[in-house]
């Protein structure tokens, strides 16, 4: 048989790649590179933060450059190993992915700085910073990939890294929390894999843009509804939506506070992002069919989360329920699917990443100052430091969605979008959840901050380190900034939502020939 050179020009990228396209792969690839170096230098405790914090700052820079590039030129795609999609794995960043990646980078940088005081030598030896960078590789990869199996792989990367972070220190309660977290999250990613297996069986491709094209072409006779429902279940579990959220309050209060902050900001948001991407880009019609279910789950999530926050006396467990309550608002936005609702959900997700990180870090400082996380015992924080008390109050207002802070505007958008289609009960649930959250956090402020320190109450360490104060102040300032000047971010979030609703630009960036 004669050897015939096959013509591969149709399957390969032949033109040189513009340097700007590199920003799509740089965030995860850079994190892996820096993480591997830090893992090699595990024993060099002093060197770890000196290398990790600049590495995280560079990550933020790459994310910001990617965001600027996407904002100007629309979605960017880079394929791995020169193989054109659908053969090669594509990394595609649109506005939503770039926004989430940028916010994630900021959170990681803040966590890296805060960890200077929160993670002692023991934790550093077990590798906090290497795991943080691997976690960020998983998170950025999940936000930027354009291939659904690759998305699964990044989910697993961030899951493995989060296991490492969760058991940092190996306390008894950490192992208890880790058991529940690990098993339930593993089942969630397995559900994701099951759905992806079916998806591959149906379409024979894993590239999301390709699937979107094929699904739009032959929708009638394909069992897409089953798939969409499976994906909603899998991502709902990752995002801690109501009936499948019990792993979150069982585990989020057990690790070091900075690890809790990173988890609260990043992991559930990855689930929400994946749900947005898959439901909006791949299954838009099925999402409409399922919208009532998602909306009901969202309403239940936000109300029960707020009620859970009201019932807790431990500050860290209270915050875990506040994370859940915020997820409900994002689910409501996803269920609405309109530019207003989805834009509100994206804005709210960014707000939640910033504010929940700030809150967990502030809770860490509060616990250190008061000597306890228990609201029954804490008190006198305002007397200790009026500045810290003020910053905390700003974050409390922001998480309760009160003006003039960042949580207010996205909720307005989602409530308005809900009222526009007549879903008054959804709007009422959002307002009720906000009201309950306000009570919960008002009580925290009253008891732990405003109440004078009693005689029998334990006193903790008196000083607040600058590396703890800096990220809290920065995030409180961001929350105020986006509350006072919401217009630019609002416009960007809405344009990101429009990009999700009509993925033509996304698909064109992967397949330039398709109109």
């Amino acid at each position: 048989m004669a050897a015939s050179p096959a013509d591969l020009s149709a399957a390969l990228v032949l033109s040189p790649v513009p340097p700007a396209d590199w920003f799509v792969v740089l965030p995860p690839a850079w994190c892996l590179l820096a993480g591997s170096v830090l893992l090699m230098l595990r024993k060099k405790r002093r060197l770890q933060p000196l290398l990790a914090i600049p590495a995280l700052a560079l990550l933020v820079l790459f994310d910001a450059l990617l965001f600027a590039h996407v904002l100007e030129n629309g979605p960017v795609t880079m394929v791995m190993g020169r193989w054109l999609p659908p053969f090669g794995i594509a990394f595609t960043a649109d506005l939503t992915g770039a926004l989430f990646a940028l916010a994630g980078g900021l959170v990681a940088l803040a966590g890296g700085i805060y960890a200077l005081t929160d993670i002692d030598g023991e934790g550093r030896r077990y590798g906090f910073y290497p795991f943080l960078l691997l976690l960020m590789a998983g998170v950025s990869g999940a936000f930027l990939t354009g291939d659904i199996f690759n998305l699964y792989v990044w989910f697993e990367v961030l899951l493995i890294a989060s296991f490492g972070l969760l058991v940092l220190g190996s306390e008894r309660r950490q192992i208890d929390g880790a058991i529940k977290y690990a098993f339930l999250n593993l089942v969630a990613t397995t559900l994701f894999l099951i759905a992806t297996g079916y998806l591959y069986g149906i379409f024979g491709t894993l590239n999301m843009a390709d699937i979107a094209l094929k699904a739009a072409a032959a929708r009638e006779w394909l069992p897409l509804m089953t798939l969409a429902a499976l994906y909603v279940l899998a991502f709902g579990m990752k995002a801690a939506a109501f009936p499948v959220n019990f792993w979150l309050p069982a585990s989020y209060h057990t690790p070091r506070i900075v690890v809790s902050a990173l988890f609260a900001a990043l992991l559930t948001k990855v689930g929400i992002y994946a749900m947005m991407r898959v439901m909006m880009t791949l299954f838009p019609l099925e999402r409409e069919e399922l919208s009532l279910l998602i909306a009901a789950a969202g309403a239940a999530t936000m109300i029960l989360g707020a009620l859970g926050a009201l019932a807790q006396s431990d500050l860290r467990r209270l915050l875990g329920y506040a994370v859940i309550s915020g997820i409900g608002v994002m689910l409501a936005g996803v269920s609405l699917g309109s530019p207003g609702g989805l834009g509100g959900a994206i804005f709210y997700a960014l707000h939640s990443m910033i504010v929940m990180t700030g809150l967990y870090l502030a809770a860490g400082v509060a616990g250190r100052l008061a000597g306890t996380f228990d609201l029954n015992g804490a008190g006198g924080l305002h007397q200790r430091s009026a500045l810290f008390s003020g910053l905390s109050l700003m974050l409390f207002f922001a998480v309760s969605s009160l003006p003039p802070f960042s949580g207010f505007w996205p909720k307005v958008m989602v409530v308005k979008a809900a009222l526009d289609i007549g879903a008054w009960w959804l709007a009422a649930a959002i307002l009720l959840a906000g009201f309950l959250t306000t009570i919960a956090f008002g009580r925290v402020y009253l008891l732990a901050y405003w109440r004078p320190a009693g005689a029998g109450r334990p006193a903790g360490d008196g000083r607040i380190p600058a590396s703890a104060m800096l990220p809290i102040a920065a995030f409180a300032a961001l929350a105020l900034l986006f509350g006072l000047l919401p217009e630019p971010l609002l416009a960007v979030a809405q344009s990101a939502a429009r990009g999700l609703i009509d993925p033509a630009a996304y698909i064109r960036s992967v397949f330039p020939g398709v109109t």
Binding site: V13, P16, V17, P19, D21, W22, V25, A29, L32, L33, G35, S36, V37, L38, L39, M40, R42, M78, V79, M80, G81, R82, F91, Y126, P130, F163, G164, V167, S170
Partner: protein
Amino acid sequence: MNSLILRTVAPFLTALMLLFSVFVLLRGHNEPGGGFIGGLIAASALAIYGIANGVSAVRKALWFHPMSISAFGLFLACVAGFLSMAFAVPFMTGLWVYPVVLGVEVALSTVMLFDIGVYLVVVGAIISIALAMEGREGEGP
């Protein structure tokens, strides 16, 4: 395990299997083989050594901590991807050079570098899990 036969044979067997694992790794580009399976063979070679002579002997023989070996593999794999940045081709594109060493043309590529990285990641990860389960001084999960 306290068996004279195993303890006598283990060093030879380990050496042979390590050699074979490198052969499988280098064969991997055009024939069945590669970094993953090569790494598994190397890890089982070290596991046999560990069963015969104990965990601390393996740690001493490895010199580097297994996690560091894994990390170095990850580093190599990343470098293999980043090299394509200099040539204006997409991430992870295979790049080849053919230097002539002692009159023999040697084909070197970023693909091979990546595969060596995979090999080291697999060896390091599997050995660190095996040692953690086998020995009591394991560092936990």
